[in-house]
Symmetry: C2
Subunit: 316 residues, 2 copies
C-alpha cells in the first residue's frame, strides 16, 4: 500500500511517496519559512505534495492516504498546535484533505518517528515498545498493542517528564528533576562541563575551542580518548539514562526500547554499559530480557513515520 | 452476567458470586494456610467455590467464568508465581478449570483491584486510568483502552518502581530511589520518624507508645492535630506522592488517577493538596484536567476485582 508522508519541521517541509514494504519511492523538500502565516505554509505543503506525486510517476489513485508528522500536538478535534510554527490551533487536517482529496492523519513527530522504527527500523515486529529520542530534551513514544498510545486526549507520551530526581534540576516544564534533565544530550553537555570544571587538564576545555562550546559528541569522543573527566561524566550520564530505561521496563514491560537521536550513533561506548545495567537491575529480566537497541532510521524517519501515521489512521 | 471471584490472600481465601451489575450476591471465606503445600490450598479453593455456589442459590449454569486475584504473577502460559505462598510456578488455572469445569482467568491482585474500581467504584466509565495502591509498597495498575495493560509478558505495571530520586533510598527491588520509597505508607512513617527526631516535643514520640511504633495513620492524625513535625512530614510526603502522580499524567494522560490503600481514607488532608499540586504542575492541565480520586471499594474489592478478571478474560 502507498501513502504520502509529510515531515513538517521548523526549517524544512519534506514530502515522500512511501510504500509500506519498499519504503520511500520518491521524495522532495522545500523550506518551511516558519515565520510566515499558516495559510502560506499550508499552501506550500499542498504544492509540494502535488509535485512529488507528479514526479514520482505513482498513480494518484494508488495513494491511500496522507500522514503528517508535526512538531507539536494534534487534537482529536483535528486542530494542530505547534509552538515553533506559531500555530495555536489551525485546521491543517481539514485544509489538506480538501486541497488534496485524500484522508489526512496527523500526529506528533516523535510518535511518527517511533512508527517509522516499527515499520522499517529497529522495532519491526514489535507489538509493545518504547522509543526514546535523546536531543535537547527527551522525546518519546509508547507503542502499545501495535499502536501509538497517547492517552485519553492525545496529550500523553511525555516520556521525558517523569520525576527522576525529586527536587533536582529545573526543567522547562516548570517542575524539577524531570528525566530529560538527566538523559538528554543537553544533560550530557552539562555533566561534561561540571566534570571538566574540577579538572583543568581535561581535553574538554579545548576540544571545541572552549568548554562553553562543547557538544554531547565532544564528551563522548573525549571519553573514548581516555579523558578522565569526560569518562566520569559519560559514566554518570549512562547510569541516569539506564535508570530511566529500567523505569520504563518496570512499568511497561516492552519487548524493545529503541534509543534515537544523535547520541544513539555513539555505539558501544554507550550501549554496552546501558544494556549491562538494564540487564542487571530491571525487574524480571530472567524471564523477560527487554532488548535495548539504537534506532536505525536517520534522515528519512520523518517521511516514513508520517506515512505510517496515515497507515495507522486508516487501519483504525 | 455472573462470575465467580476468588480473592487469594496470604491469610484468607475469599470467594464470591458476583453479578456485573449488582455486585456480590453471596460470599464466604476460609484461612489460606499459606505454609501448606500448593495442592492443599488449591483443594480448599475448590471446596470453598463449590460451597459458595451451593449456598448462593445461583444456578451454576449462570456462572460464566472464574477469576482469581493473586498476590503474585500469572504468566501467559498459565503458571502462577506468589512469593508469600511459596509458589514458584504452579498450574493453578488448569487445576481450577478441571475441578470446577469453568473457564479460569488469573491476574495480579493489584490489577484485580483496579478492575473492581472500573466495574464498581471510582473509575466507572474510564477507558484510560491509573490506580495506585499505597501500602507497604506502592502497587499499581494501568487501564488502557478499557483493559489492564501489563506488557508484553505480563510483567509490567510495577508503577512503584520508576526512579523517583536518583541514588536515593535503597529499594526492595535492588535499585535506589524508586517511587515506592517516597510514596508508600512506609515512606510516610519514615518521614514522620525523621521529622520527630529533630523535634523532641512532637506528639509522634508518644502517640503510639514510642516513635518506633508509629503508623502512617498516626502521622496523619498528628498533623491534623497541628503537630509541626508530623505536618512537615505529611507535606513532604504529599508533594512526593503528587510529583509521581504528575509523572504518570505526563506519560499516560489518563482520565482519572485513583488512589487506594489505607492512606486514601485520610480524606481532604491529603487530597486537597494532592489535587492542587497536580492541577498546578502537570502538563496540559488546561485542556486535560485529569481527576485524582480516592478509591471507593474496601474489603470487597478483591472478590469484585477477581470476578472482573474473569469478565475481561472472557471478553478478550
Amino acid at each position: 500500500m502507498k501513502y504520502l508522508g509529510i515531515d513538517l519541521g521548523g526549517t524544512h517541509i519534506a514530502v515522500g511517496v512511501v510504500d509500506d514494504v519498499d519504503g520511500i519511492l520518491y521524495k522532495d523538500s522545500c523550506p518551511t519559512g516558519a515565520d510566515r502565516e499558516y495559510k502560506l505554509i499550508m499552501e506550500d505543503m499542498v504544492s509540494l505534495c502535488k509535485k512529488v506525486i507528479a514526479d514520482s510517476t505513482v498513480d494518484i489513485d494508488e495513494i491511500k492516504g496522507l500522514g503528517v508528522g508535526l512538531p507539536g500536538i494534534e487534537t482529536p478535534a483535528g486542530m494542530s498546535y505547534a509552538k515553533n510554527l506559531y500555530w495555536d490551533g489551525v485546521p491543517l487536517a481539514g485544509d489538506l484533505a480538501k486541497a488534496l482529496d485524500l484522508p489526512v492523519y496527523i500526529d506528533n513527530d516523535a510518535h511518527a518517528a517511533a512508527l517509522a522504527e516499527v515499520g522499517f527500523g529497529s522495532l519491526i515486529g514489535c507489538k509493545d515498545a518504547i522509543m526514546l529520542t535523546l536531543g535537547t530534551g527527551v522525546g518519546g513514544a509508547m507503542i502499545i498493542n501495535d499502536k501509538i498510545y497517547s492517552g485519553s486526549i492525545h496529550a500523553g507520551g511525555e516520556l521525558g517528564h517523569f520525576t527522576f530526581m525529586y527536587n533536582g534540576h529545573d526543567c522547562s516544564c516548570g517542575r524539577k528533576g524531570c528525566y530529560e534533565q538527566y538523559a538528554s544530550a543537553s544533560a550530557l553537555i552539562r555533566m561534561g562541563k561540571y566534570a571538566a570544571n574540577d579538572c583543568p587538564t581535561s581535553s574538554l576545555h579545548t576540544i571545541n575551542g572552549s568548554l562553553d562550546n562543547i557538544t554531547a559528541k565532544n564528551v563522548v569522543d573525549a571519553a573514548r580518548e581516555g579523558d578522565a573527566a569526560a569518562r566520569g561524566a559519560l559514566d554518570y550520564y549512562i547510569d541516569c539514562l539506564a535508570q530511566g530505561v529500567i523505569s520504563f521496563i518496570n512499568i511497561y514491560n516492552p519487548e524493545k526500547v529503541s534509543i534515537g537521536g544523535g547520541l544513539s550513533q555513539a555505539g558501544d561506548i554507550i550501549f554496552d554499559d546501558l544494556k549491562r545495567i538494564v540487564k542487571e537491575q530491571a525487574f524480571n529480566q530472567l524471564h523477560l530480557a527487554t532488548e535495548v537497541v539504537p534506532a536505525m532510521l536517520k534522515n528519512d524517519a520523518g517521511i516514513l513515520g508520517a506515512a505510517m501515521v496515515a497507515q495507522q489512521g486508516l487501519r483504525a
